[in-house]
């Protein structure tokens, strides 16, 4: 049965990786200024 689970997982994937990428980029930026 098609239950739209893949759409929900796509949202989780996008949000998770966007926020993690933001943290990584800012940690790198902080390291450069220290």
């Amino acid at each position: 049965m098609f239950n739209f689970l893949n759409y929900f997982l796509a949202v989780l994937f996008v949000v998770f990786f966007a926020i993690v990428a933001w943290f990584i980029l800012n940690i790198i930026a902080l390291k450069k200024t220290d």
Partner: protein, 215 residues
């Protein structure tokens, strides 16, 4: 980074995810797609909250001319733009199975897209190479003016008749408690995440200003 706040937001997010996946009711017609609601709406809320901070920091900068407020505004604008961008990505993912098409040109979607584009312009302004105080002044003014779009987004569902719009109206109070309580918890979790990111970004910008001898 405020480590305690960071750990708290991770714990809240894990708890939030488990609650959304395992303990929220399945809505018959949308099934799993409805659960996007617990992520999409808090993302929009954090986006608006960020832009409120940008506006507030803009006013304080204009009054005090202290670069501290510019850093707060810059940090909040970056987080707001990230989250508004995520709203514009998660919205079409949700809309594809439910509306049958990812994007419809109707008031709420257009006003949100306009808000996102205004802040893209805000970051272009930040990087055109003006001197530091000049950038801070212009961005403070843009941040205050851009906030005017937020009440328009809220009111946008009233611009046209409800029956010709696809985007839901303001109906949260009519949601059953099985949906409403986890939704409130998700709002809370994302708000804590926002403050974690805000304090961290302010710290990054402070270090950068210190390196460039502005502090």
């Amino acid at each position: 980074m405020n480590l305690a706040l960071f750990i708290l937001s991770i714990i809240l997010m894990i708890f939030n995810l488990v609650w959304i996946v395992s303990f929220t009711p399945m809505v018959f017609e949308q099934h799993w797609a409805q659960k996007i609601f617990y992520i999409h709406v808090p993302l929009a809320w954090v986006g608006f909250l960020s832009y409120f901070f940008v506006m507030l920091a803009g006013i304080l900068y204009l009054v005090s001319r202290n670069l501290k407020y510019d850093r707060i505004g810059h940090a909040a604008a970056e987080i707001g733009t990230l989250f508004t961008g995520l709203v514009l990505i998660t919205g079409p993912i949700w809309a594809t199975p439910v509306w049958g098409k990812p994007w419809v040109w109707e008031p709420r979607l257009i006003t949100t897209l306009v808000l996102f584009l205004i802040y893209i312009g805000y970051f272009i302004l930040r990087n055109v190479g003006l001197y530091r105080q000049r950038v801070a002044l212009i961005c403070a003014i843009v941040g205050i003016i851009a906030f005017l779009d937020i009440p328009i987004i809220f009111a946008s569902v009233d611009f046209w008749a409800a029956d010709i719009q696809l985007h839901p109206q303001r109906v949260m109070s009519k949601q059953p408690s099985g949906v409403f309580i986890p939704f409130l918890f998700s709002l809370f979790s994302f708000t804590i995440l926002f403050f974690t990111m805000l304090f961290f970004k302010i710290r990054v910008l402070y270090s950068k200003d210190k390196k460039d001898n502005y502090v």
